[in-house]
């Protein structure tokens, strides 16, 4: 077979032109549109699938209940390619669609940071799941967070370890990315507020192949309780195994990734009996249970926080627009802020002026691979 240069290049040219022709002609119905920025490609593509599923379940529920302002709701998705520039492009593409009345942003804080200027310019509500505490302090009135921020996770980990487990020799292990670093700061801050100074704080870069030096540092410091912020499950899996192999058996309270489905699969017994803070826990409320049943019906796997927040986000947007009685962004914003005690899958939403909807976390325990709800810790501030 001989592919000549000419054939190849003209084929390439045709291939380049075709999608451009396909694009554009899209029917415009009498629906209310939400825009969703979600990773469809790149490293977070799998999480993106979950996020879309959560939104879709809520969408079906909203539409079955009569939709929004009497119209059916539709979600327009755009791929952020798991990158920041990708997120900016995806959002700006959605923003050009005037029919879209509200957005569901990203679970990744850096992406929300990247999109924030465009969100401000577009001036329509954007629900998001990134947990970097600074996001709601940017003075951007259109950002609404559907997960508790990391300052709460740090406080909850500290409170659970200090008050429930009554342990004081803390070690902290964290990823040096934005999530891990902010989490570490929140945890260390909460501990210090209670008069406890962590004996060792160890950062690591994502995709480390080996944690022996980290584990040995923990061992040498003689910790009796471990707090952790891991971003990627494979890091968590390797670390957990080496931790146990090298004989560190201190109780361990970790950030949400410690109880997610992939981590459980990868780490297996190494994570048994650990505690995790979870913004979503199936047994924490009837609403959470109902979402879990619907999700399992659709996806055949257990839900986690990747989908629960988008589920809440769509429900909240629908509720706020219905409450406002119109899609005017300012009215929707005010309606959103006035919603009190909204029971979502993640917990009870009471938006404060910053746009933080949730103010507490669940603590769950891994009992031989099963995640068991332990306690909900809520803060008033």
């Amino acid at each position: 077979m001989q592919v000549t240069r000419r054939v190849f290049t003209s084929g390439l040219a045709a291939g380049l032109a075709a999608p451009a022709l396909l694009r554009g002609a899209q029917a415009q119905g009498a629906t209310i549109k939400f825009g969703q920025v979600v990773p469809i490609t790149g490293p977070a593509a799998e999480a993106g699938k979950y996020a879309m599923a959560g939104a879709k379940i809520a969408l079906e529920k909203v539409n079955k209940a009569g939709g929004v302002l009497g119209k059916q709701v539709e979600i327009v998705t755009e791929d952020d390619q798991t990158t920041n520039p990708g997120a900016v492009l995806a959002f700006s593409k959605l923003a050009t669609n005037a029919d879209i009345v509200g957005f569901i942003g990203s679970i990744r804080s850096t992406q929300v940071h990247a999109m924030a200027p465009d969100i401000l310019k577009t001036a329509k509500p954007c629900m998001f799941g990134g947990t970097d505490p600074t996001l709601t302090k940017l003075g951007n009135p259109w950002l609404f967070r559907c997960r508790p921020n990391d300052s709460y996770s740090g406080r909850v980990i500290a409170a659970y370890g200090l008050e429930e487990l009554k342990l004081k020799k803390w070690g902290i292990v964290h990823s040096t990315d934005a999530f891990g670093t902010n989490g570490m700061k929140a945890l260390a801050g909460a501990l210090e507020a209670a008069g406890v100074k962590p004996v060792v704080i160890q950062g690591y870069a994502n995709q480390s192949q080996d944690f022996t030096p980290v584990v040995l540092a923990l061992k040498q410091a003689g910790i009796d309780v471990l707090g952790s912020y891991f971003t990627f499950e494979n890091d968590l899996g390797i670390f957990a195994r080496q931790l146990r192999q090298l004989g560190v058996n201190a109780p361990w309270v970790g950030s949400p990734s410690i109880v997610n489905v992939t981590a459980l699969k990868l780490a297996g017994p190494a994570l048994y009996n650990t505690f995790g803070v979870a913004d979503y826990a199936e047994d924490s409320s009837p609403e959470a249970k109902a979402f879990a049943d619907a999700y399992r019906g659709m996806m055949k796997v257990d839900p986690d926080n990747q989908s629960s927040w988008t589920y809440d986000a769509v429900n909240l947007l629908a509720a706020a627009i219905n409450k406002a009685g119109k899609t005017d962004p300012q009215a929707v914003r005010e309606a959103m802020l006035s919603i009190k005690g909204f029971k979502g899958a993640e917990g009870e939403y009471n938006f404060d002026q910053n746009g933080d909807g949730l103010h507490g976390y669940n603590v769950v325990q891994n009992k031989s691979g099963k995640i068991v709800f332990s306690k909900h810790i809520e803060f008033k501030d």
Partner: protein, 594 residues
């Protein structure tokens, strides 16, 4: 990287016209960017395309012109972006000051990186740039007090005049147009010619008087500089920078952009950048399967390398050249001025003095204590059977090999430890047994490079160099074909171009390495005549050859080598009848090579 000539000679002569068209086109683009109101999505895409294009043009220079690889362009892009981001946000500096600081930083980093490792070239350079990329990324992520770590820097402001996205876009397009113009014109400047020469043939470039290392480092620094400039503009455009935007993967994207568009021209850079920003947007219908379109992207890279080595723009320009204006501009016949050779200013009777020269490769003594001298104005031949060490001697003389022992004095100057290009500046000219021309250039461009080195007492204005090159070509009998690509010449004529290239540099001593090799008998006669004409001009020649007819015809003095040692030295008649020489050539010794 193989590539076609970037600027054809016809295009060069029509440069004023091209320039006019370019300025008009650029003005339209800037005007369009400044006045047409795009929606936010299109503005973002255009902004990304414009700023990336600037960085990709850096790769046009380093990869396309100079043939060096850089897998860290995203790091340079990131350094520029962070300079603007951190400078304006954390330190409250003026936007323009930040751009300046950013450029200084990347220039320093690029020059350092290039200077420390570029001598290794090839794979090593690829590796070092990857390492640099990784280290920059790690520092951006982990040096939190300064870089804000993975959070990145947000709220970057734009300069006063260009606060709106529209105005800023117009500004970026203007910068792109200016950079594009410079990169477009670079190949026909002395620096650009030097880069192309290095890309085409490093050895020939250094022997033609080009400082190869400095040329490469300059190309690398320019590449880094444009990377930083693109990044600085990017930071202002998107108001937010974070480490993951400047990762190794992005460096690969930059590389693919330049390859796809074509490395030979800044237009290729813009085409490639535009396409690789738009293709992922267009291919979103493939998004239902994660990874699919990146897989196609990877496949496209392989297919482009296999089938479209000159990129899309290279392919288009080839196409238009084939069907376009072959008839176009008639070659302007330059006045065939007579070639002047005025290399030597010295008065010593010996132009070259070689004493106790030795070159050992491990245990092999290729040259073993050879001494001889070449008289001013003479034609001197160095002969010997295969493996006798004569080509090694020549390579040591021209600085390609460092000698193990001994000294070389050229026209009174000790050149023993000088690199090749410095010897050329000192008055050495040479040709190669295996012809080493700059294959993507025309005959006259090849010869101009030979004329361009610092030691040459010729005016450095382009028209003077051009005139000298044409005179040299006319001298060897190829004056009317000066504007043809060297690859269109016969083997024998290519050899003549090589000689012209050496002559154009006004050498004090001309080294000819087996000039008769591969020539047919007519060509040999022409060559003999040419050598006599050169000698008649008083130029000293050292010739190495097997061809006894040629040697005995032109040489006044012969040195014979065998097994790395001098076995005879003197006038042709006595040397050729020397018993050792006869033995060596008739191969009566049992262990004579071949």
């Amino acid at each position: 990287m193989t590539s076609i000539t970037d600027v054809s000679p016809a295009a060069r002569r029509t440069a004023p016209l091209g320039l006019l068209a370019y300025v008009a086109l650029a003005a339209v683009a800037v005007f369009f960017a400044a006045t047409h109101s795009f929606d936010a999505y299109i503005t973002n895409i255009l902004m990304q395309a414009a700023t990336y294009s600037v960085a990709v043009m850096g790769l046009t220079v380093v990869l396309g012109l100079c043939g060096q690889i850089n897998l860290a362009q995203a790091a340079f892009f990131g350094l520029g972006a962070y300079a603007v981001g951190l400078g304006t946000v954390d330190y409250g500096l003026n936007f323009w000051v930040c751009i300046g600081l950013g450029l200084v930083t990347v220039l320093a980093a690029g020059a350092f990186l290039g200077a420390s490792t570029i001598r290794l070239g090839g794979h090593y350079l690829a590796m070092v740039t990857i390492s640099f990329q990784q280290i920059v990324t790690l520092v951006m992520i982990n040096w939190i007090p300064v870089t804000h770590g993975p959070d990145g820097v947000s709220g970057i402001s734009r300069p006063g005049l260009f606060t709106t996205a529209q105005a800023y876009l117009a500004f970026c397009v203007t910068v792109l147009a200016v950079v594009g113009y410079l990169v477009w014109r670079l190949p026909s400047s002395p620096l650009g010619r030097a880069m192309r020469a290095v890309r085409d043939n490093e050895l020939a470039a250094s022997v033609a008087g080009i400082d190869v290392q400095r040329t490469k480092v300059t190309a690398f620094a320019i590449c880094a500089l444009l990377g930083g400039l693109g990044g600085a503009l990017f930071a202002g455009g998107f108001a937010y920078v974070s480490p993951d935007q400047f990762s190794f993967a992005e460096s690969i994207v930059f590389l693919t952009m330049v390859l796809l568009g074509g490395v030979a021209s800044p237009i290729g850079a813009v085409v490639g950048t535009g396409l690789l920003i738009l293709i992922p947007e267009w291919l979103r219908f493939l998004k239902s399967v994660p990874g699919l379109y990146l897989a196609i992207y990877g496949l496209a890279v392989i297919l482009i390398v296999l089938f479209m080595p000159d990129g899309i723009w290279g392919w288009i320009s080839q196409f238009t050249r084939r069907f376009g204006s072959r008839s176009g501009v008639a070659p302007v016949r330059a006045e065939a001025t007579a070639l002047e050779l005025r290399g030597s200013s010295g008065h010593a009777p010996e132009v070259l003095r070689v004493e106790g020269l030795a070159k050992h490769f491990g245990g092999l003594k290729a040259v073993d204590g050879v001494s001889f001298s070449v008289k001013r104005g003479s034609v001197h031949a160095l002969i010997g059977p295969n493996g006798s060490g004569k080509t090694t001697t020549l390579n040591v003389l021209s600085g390609i090999y460092a000698p193990t022992a001994g000294s070389i004095t050229l026209d009174g100057l000790d050149v023993t430890n000088l690199p090749p290009h410095r010897r050329t500046i000192a008055g050495l000219g040479r040709t190669f047994q295996n012809i080493r021309l700059f294959r993507t250039m025309t005959a006259v461009e090849n010869v101009i490079i030979g004329a361009e080195h610092p030691g040459n007492p010729v005016q450095k204005a382009h028209h003077a160099l051009d005139a000298r090159a044409r005179a040299a070509l006319a001298f060897v009998g190829l004056g009317d074909r000066a504007d043809e690509l060297v690859t269109s010449f016969s083997y024998g004529h290519q050899r003549l171009i090589e000689i012209a290239r050496a002559l154009a540099g006004n050498p004090t001593l001309l080294l000819l390495d087996e000039p008769a090799a591969g020539l047919n008998s007519t060509e040999k006669l022409e060559l003999t005549a040419l050598l006599k004409r050169i000698a008649a001009k008083g130029l000293t020649i050292l010739i190495i050859d097997h061809d006894m007819t040629l040697v005995s015809d032109v040489a006044e003095h012969i040195t014979v080598l065998n097994f790395g040692r001098r076995i005879a030295d003197g006038d042709p008649v006595s040397v050729l009848n020397h018993p050792d020489v006869v033995t060596a050539y008739l191969g009566s010794e049992p262990d004579a090579p071949y």
